[in-house]
Amino acid sequence: MRLSLLLACAAVLTIGCEKKTSTDPKPAEVKQPVADTKPAEPAKPPEAKPAEDVLLLGEVGSLTGSEAAFGISTRDGIAMAIDEANEAGGVKGKKLAVRVYDDQSKPEEAASAVTRLITQDKVLVILGEVASSNSLAMAPKAQEAKTPMISPSSTNPKVTEIGDYIFRVCFIDPFQGFVMAKYSREELKFNNVAILTDKRSAYSEGLTEVFQKKFAELGGKIVGVESYSKGDTDFRAQLTNIKKLKAQGLYVPGYYQDVAVIAEQAKELGLKVTMMGGDGWDSAKLFELGGTSVVGSYVSNHYSADDPSPRVQEFIKKYQARYKTTPDSLAALGYDAARVAIEAMKRAPELTGPAIRDQIAITKDFPGVAGTITLDEKRNPVKPAVVLKVEEGKFKYVSTVAP
C-alpha cells in the first residue's frame, strides 16, 4: 500500500509537477481557513470538545467528486458569512468557526461525515449538503442527535420531511418544475416538450415529475422521456431518439457537467430544440464545458447576479473582493444558510440543539441575498424563483416567477 501511494505520487510527477504529501492522515478532512480568528483555535485537532471560547459549526460538502464545483462555492459562501459574523463581534461574545468535511459527492461519505461532526466535534449546527441525495443521507443522523441542520440548496422535498430539525433556505423541486413548466408553456408558448432526466439523481427525478404534471395541466404535451445515469458521457443514443420526436423544447433537469455534454452532442447530431433546466446548470463550468452549444437555453434559479437590488450587489462586491470571481447561487445560498444559523444562535437563550432549532424555525422575513426567507411549517422557505436565459458566457435575467 505504501508502494502504491508512492506510485500515485510518481504518476502525478510525470505531468510535470511536485505534489506535497498531505500531512493530514485523514484525507477526507479539510480544515476551513477562518481569517482573522485567534490563530490557535481552529487548528486544534477535533478531539473531544472544541476550545471553550469558539462556537463550532459543522459543514459537509462535496469538495471533490462530480459535484465539486457546487461544494466549493457553498464552502466559500459559508466561510464569508462566518468571517463577517466574527468581524461583527461573533455570537454571545464568542468567535465562530466551521469544521468542513468532504464527502466526495457520495451519500455514504456524507452520512459518515455528519456522524463525525455530531459525535466527535459536537457542532451546534450542521450546514449542508448541496445534492439532495447526500442531504437525505445526512438528515436522519442530525434529527436523531437533535442537532439542527440547514441545507443551503437541496431542493428535493423529502429532505426536510425527515424531521423537525431539518431546514433549508432554498425553494423545493416541485416549485422549480412548476416555474419552468409555466414559463415554457405561457411565455415560450411550447406545445411539445421532451425530457431527458438523470434517473440516478433524486433531484432530477423530482423536477421531472412536477414538470411533467404541470406542463400537461397547462395543456402542453410531453412527447417523450429519455434518461441517463450520472457518469455517462455519451448521450447520442437518447438524443437520436429525441430528435425524431420533433419537440420544441427539451427539459434537462440535470447537473452542469452532464448538461454541457448533452448540449454539445445535441448540436453535433443536428437537434434543433430549446433546452431548459434548473439550478443544477448554475456553474461557470457550464460555459467552459459546453461552449456555445448551451446558448439560448432557459433555466430556473435561486438568484441572479444581474439583480439590481442593493442587498445582492453588496454581496457580489464583497464576494468578488475576496474570491476574485462572481458568486453563483450556490455561494449565495451557502452564505444565506450560514447567516440564518448565526442569527438563530444569537437569538437563542442557550446554545443547545433544541433552543437553536426553535429559533431557526421562526425565521421570518430574513433578508437573504437569494430572496427574502420566511420558513413555513414544513421548514421550507416561501420565495420566488428567477428564470435566466443562457447567453455566451453568462446567464441573463429574464423573469421572476412567484409561487
Partner: protein, 340 residues
Amino acid sequence: MIYDLAQHLINAIAAGTIYALVALGYTMVYGVLKLINFAHGDVMMVGVYVGYAVAFLLGKEASTSLLGFLAVFLVAMLVCALIGFLIERFAYRPLREKPRLTSLITAIGISFALSYGFQLDATVSKVRDEVTGTESWKLTSTPCAANSECVTLLPGAAARRFPTIIESVEWLKFSSDDEVSEVRLLNWQVMSFLIAVGLMVALQVLVYRTKFGKAMRAVSHDHRTAALLGIPVDTVIAGTFMLGSALAAGAGILYAIKDKQVQPLMGMYVGLKAFVAAVIGGIGNLKGAVTGALLLGLCEEGVVWFGSSSWRDAVAFGFLIIVLLFRPEGLFGRAVAEKV
C-alpha cells in the same frame, strides 16, 4: 428507419471501438499475469490529462495541426507507457509470487489513489511578501484564481473541456424527405475509427509476428517454463504493461475527442465497461476483447433505440450474465481444466 439505423450504428461503433482499445489492455495483462489490472482505466484517465496538458501548452493553433495532433497522442502514450512500467515494477512485481488476491487489492488501491489523487488541487502561485517586498513561489492547495500568476500542478476535481484537436467537420449528411431522420458522419468519427483499427492491427502484428510477441504468448502460456527456456519474463511482463497502458492512453484521447470532457473519475466508468467487454469476449483473448467491446457498444445503443434508456445498463449487463451462463469462459475464451 434506415437513417435511424445508420445513425445508431455510427454511435455504437464510435463507443465500441474505444471500449475495445481499453479492453485490449485488460485482456493482455490478464493473459500474461492472470491479474485484473483495475488501475487500467485510471491510467487511461492520466493519459487524457497528459494529452490535455500537451494540447494546452501547444495552444489552439498548433494542436489542431497534424503534428500537434500526433504530439498529443504520442506524448500521452509514452507517458502512460512509463506509468504502466512504474506500476508494474513497484506495485505488482514484488507481489507476483504472493497470493493473487494481494495483487488484486493493490490494483484497486492504485486505481483509487490515481482517481482521487487527481481530484486534489495543487497549485504554485506567486506570493508577495509585504514586509521584505520579495516575491516567491508557493505551493498551495486552492484552485488558481483567474488572472493570477499561478500554475496548476494537479487538475482538481472539476471536469474540464478537452481542447479541440480536430476541428469538427461534417463529412456526410443524409436526411429523409421529412427531415426528421438524419445521418451525420463527422470527420473525427471516421478518423477515430481508423486510428483505433490501426492500433489494433499494430497490436495484432506485434503479438503474432514479432519475437517479443512470441515471448509474450509463451509467458502467457506458462511463465515458469518460459523462464526456464531463457525468456526474460520480467522484461516481457513490463513490456506488456507498457503496451497496454499506451493503448489505454490512445483510447483515452479518442474518448476525449468524442465526448470533449476530461475528469478524474472517467477512468472508472470507462474501465468498468471495458472490463466487462473483455470478460464477454473471453478474458485473455485479444479478438475476444474487440468483439466483446463492439457487442457491448451495440447492445447499449440498441437498448436505448428499441427500449427505454432507463434500462440501458441493466439490459447491457444482463446480456453479459446470459453470455457467461452459456459460455462461462467468454465468447472466445478456452475452457481450461483446473489442474489438481
